[in-house]
């Protein structure tokens, strides 16, 4: 369609009044144009409030295809009349050529007669009123005649909606905004004549992509913090551990409740470990059963069988113990270690407990490391997690002394929450390993899931880790960044 022409006609008409019927108007401007395009054009002006459209529904009588044929070539009876020659025509041929009704109508009008089985002209001349009627305004025809034409299928009723067009509230606004720029617009430079506007109330298209799990996002931030602080990652890819490295080497007595089956997963196959250490074993046995290194010891009958039992590690501190032992073997050097990996507890699942979760652990080994150092480094660590108000509560842990629970004032939750545990490893753990006497090792630990739950506002751990996680949850959450205080 010629938009310019329609726009020009539209506004010149509206300048002087209204358009009663958009269809008629469209026909009058350009009968060959598609009315739907015209409606599109009108609607786009309406959306700018330039014009006002009133929708009107009406029933109109229109010519059928047969009716249009009449307009072109006359009514069937007229065509029959015109075609008659002096020899006449058999009624069968007439029916065949002009339809069943032509003969009857022509006869009724007295235009023809039957002579010896042949149709002959009777009237000198005829006036084709049907054609005249259909050429004229159908709405002005006599109702009875109109009904006849409908029966003859020259005319049919059609629903014809149209718009009444009048000036809009912003009649003078004549520029239209587009939301899209196309290659065609670049080619024909039509973009320069357009103005653009995009919809800010709808959501955009969801990008096609993969997503990282929230625990990974938080884990990566934690790792970055440790790296920034000069910590070295420990190798933790061993879920199966033995009682020795998980408990005994840490000076955790064999009757300790944590070693009971309701806390620890014991392994049926492979059930036991052997040769997991050297003379170290004898020193560990001694410090448990009779004491030593300035310690009274736990004083009980230490059994190698307990140490040999395989378990799923209950904490990554088992790995820390292996690493510290290695450090003692290789000649002590100051170290800062960290790890973030899975640990296992034989617990029934609920909103805050899983049978497996991730432990975050930091360890510092150096000469004369003090409790003030531990408090300092933990404070620095949590500062980088955005928590700068922390305090420490005396606590008990079989392998650290002193032991402290870490509490932090959470800026999002606006209350004190327990953040983790910490302490200085007992000499009964370090000295049997062969570490120098003035070397002290401080450590702290927390879970990865809890800060992740706080960060992402979740109250059920089962919604973040496990086999039944909703993929939509993974897809719909922000990146993780902590504000370093």
């Amino acid at each position: 369609m010629n938009k310019e022409l329609f726009n020009e006609k539209l506004f010149s008409t509206l300048d002087n009044g209204e358009i009663e019927n958009s269809r008629d108007w469209s026909n009058s401007v350009d009968p060959s144009c598609n009315y739907n395009d015209v409606v599109g054009l009108l609607k786009s002006w309406e959306s700018l409030n330039t014009i006002k459209l009133d929708y009107i529904d009406s029933i109109v009588n229109c010519l059928t295809d047969a009716g249009k044929e009449v307009l072109k070539n006359g009514s069937p009876e007229a065509r029959l009349y015109q075609s008659l020659t002096a020899e006449g025509m058999s009624p069968a041929d007439a029916n065949k050529q002009f339809g069943a009704s032509a003969f009857g109508s022509a006869k009724n009008k007295g235009w023809i007669e039957i002579v010896k089985g042949k149709i002959l002209r009777k009237a000198e001349s005829i006036v084709d009123t049907v054609k005249q009627d259909l050429e004229g305004d159908l709405s002005k025809l006599d109702a009875k005649i109109l009904t006849d034409y409908k029966k003859a299928r020259f005319v049919e009723e059609k629903k014809m909606s149209f718009y009444k067009v009048s000036k809009g509230e912003q009649y003078n606004k004549r520029s239209k905004e587009l939301s899209d720029l196309t290659t065609d617009m670049l080619k024909d430079e039509s973009w320069s004549k357009e103005s653009f506007k995009v919809n800010i109330n709808a959501m955009g298209l969801v990008p096609e992509s993969g997503y990282r799990h929230p625990l990974s996002k938080v884990k990566n931030e934690f790792k970055q913090i440790f790296l920034d602080m000069g910590f070295e990652e420990m190798p933790t890819f061993n879920f199966v551990e033995n009682g020795f490295w998980n408990f005994d080497a840490l000076f955790q007595p064999q009757q300790h409740p944590a070693r009971e089956s309701h806390d620890t997963f014991f392994i049926k196959d492979p059930m036991t470990s052997h040769d997991f250490t050297d003379e170290h074993l004898e020193r560990v046995k001694k410090v448990h059963s009779v004491g030593g290194y300035g310690s009274l010891g736990w004083i009980y009958d230490w059994k190698i069988e307990e140490a040999e039992k395989n378990i799923l590690r209950t904490h990554t501190t088992a790995v820390s113990a292996r690493m510290l032992y290695k450090l003692a073997q290789n000649g002590f050097k100051p170290k800062k270690y960290f790890s973030i990996d899975r640990v296992f507890r034989n617990e029934t699942l609920d909103a805050t407990h899983l049978a497996e979760f991730h432990q975050v652990e930091g360890v510092i080994a150096d000469v004369d490391i003090s409790l003030s150092h531990l408090i300092g480094v933990i404070s620095e660590f949590f500062k980088r997690l955005g928590i700068d108000n922390i305090r420490f509560k005396p606590a008990f842990n079989p392998y650290t002394e002193p032991s402290m629970e870490i509490f932090g004032y959470h800026p999002m939750l606006k209350r004190w929450v327990e953040l983790g545990n910490s302490g200085i490893f007992r000499p009964e753990m370090l000295l049997p390993m062969g570490l120098p006497e003035n070397v002290r090792v401080a450590a702290w630990g927390l879970s990865l899931e809890r800060p992740t739950m706080i960060k992402y506002g979740l109250d059920n751990i089962r919604n973040i880790f496990g086999n039944n996680i909703n993929v939509n949850f993974i897809k719909n959450n922000p990146i993780c960044m902590f504000e370093s205080k």
Binding site: G230, F266, N346, A355, E356, S372, I424, V471
Partner: protein
Amino acid sequence: MPKVNINRDHLFKRLGKVYTQEEFEDLCFQYGVELDEVTSERDMILKETGVEDKAASDEVIYKIDVSANRYDLLCIEGIARSLNVYNGKLSIPKYHIVPPVNGTHEKLIVDKSVEGVRPVIVAGILRNIEFTQETYDSFIDLQEKLHANICKKRALVSIGTHDLDTVKGPFTYKALPPKEIKFVPLSQTKQFDAEELFNFYDTTNSHLKKYLHIIKDSAVYPGIYDSNNVLLSLPPIINGEHSKIKLSTKNVFIEVTATDRTKANIVLNTMLTMFAEYCKIPHSMEQVEVVEADGKSALYPQIEEKQISADVDYINKSIGINIQPTEMVSMLKRMSLESKLSSDSKSVTVSVPVTRSDIMHACDVMEDVAIGYGYNNLVKEIPKTHTQGRIQPINKLSELLSAEVALAGFTEIMTFVLCQNQDNFGGLNKVEDGSSVKIANAVSEEFTEVRTNLINSLMKSVVSNKAAPLPLKLFELSDVSVKGSTGNKDLTDPNSNNSDVGAYNKRMLGAIYCANSAKIEVIHGLLDRVMLSLNIKPDTTRSGKGYYLEIGTDKVFLPGTCINIIVNGKKVGYMGIIHPIVLKNYGCPFPCTVLELEVTMDLAKNIIYQD
């Protein structure tokens, strides 16, 4: 951590001060206990039964969490005593032994027959005690608390307390066949033999039922008898009605039986020291002579104070403070520890009261100084330890690969390592080959093995997300564990993978595509992308450098669709269309295609610069 229920008003009366809750919480925090809950008897009944009991007391009860190693804080007596000393309102109590009233010690003779059942017994006496209803209840409660904690539900240790004036020594500790043990147990009126009694507790679902297993299968049951053969108690189950203590009891005989002597002594000493303050001579106790089967005898309780020394310098350096030795002595005093300085003031020696079995090394003394000083009064110091940050190469590689796979349109999942047998074998159409790590004592049927593969985890996640729009594209890059050894037993090698335990982890990449058609080219495309990321090129000539595919036969895949992935001539994983039987096993109605490959540093050879 053990919880102790304490009547708030009674506690405040003992502390000589009415605290606001906040003040009290603060005091607890500094000392190292925690006010866990504020409730009342009525509230507790309501919570437990859902019924309001108007008859129950609505006096405020504080539930206090105490450290698992502080048995001396398991009753109101101990908590109040410790806090009063901490607050400087009370001097450190001196527990002491008084000579026997009759001139000779009560005797307890151990018979050989108990050797195989419950060999250890120790005992002690509280003379001229004055109980009130409150202190009597506390006395009973402490026994329960000790039984639940250090006594390991009576299996390790159990306590019997008796009115000494109702029985007559010497006492005998011996084991007899159950049928021969006849007595009226506590709270009963008729006589039972031990076998009947066990049946009775078992069938009436008594609260004692849970202890029966400790000795039930023994041929003989241990018992303590007086000289008239009156049974005092049948440990670790019940005492006799005859000798039961009452509010009016004046002299209390406490016997403790056990399988571990150290723990038995701790329990006996705790019972005596906590309640000796109600004796006519406060903090005093009388010893009992225990004659062992071999004729050797010893007096109990043994309450000599252990002496533990710590260097002043060590304490200061370990805490990161610089206080005078005399200040240390006063810090320790707040923590109920009497101490003396050496003549040169270079070390401090603590006389450890019998109540503090947790103190066994100089570091324990150091801790008490630190608590006395206040953890939150310490200056925060960053250690000068100069080290370099470093990440495990395999974790670095895993992280980079995870990012690539996510960029390729797959969503990361994190699932449990724990699974069941069918997830390692049957469910995946595989035959059990003994390669999986199996758990002996799982509480949940779902967690009886460690996963050997990621396919089961991927299938479970797809099924949990059946309702999500297809296609689902998920991946996990995580560990599995298998039995065996990598052959590297060098303990000092961090990559030894702990071969000494007979199982090791493998780092795996698993990805799944789930849609209305299996479209193996999607997963195949991911493999190509991963290989491209690792700079591993297609090995079209099968030269042993790069990667190529070959048709495999693993039954987890639809026959004909299993593709083995060969990198540098070695199989590193496989991919294929999941077998419809496996889909059915996991309840998945849609076709799935899976890739699983082991991620090792070998894969990173082409992206790491090597000289």
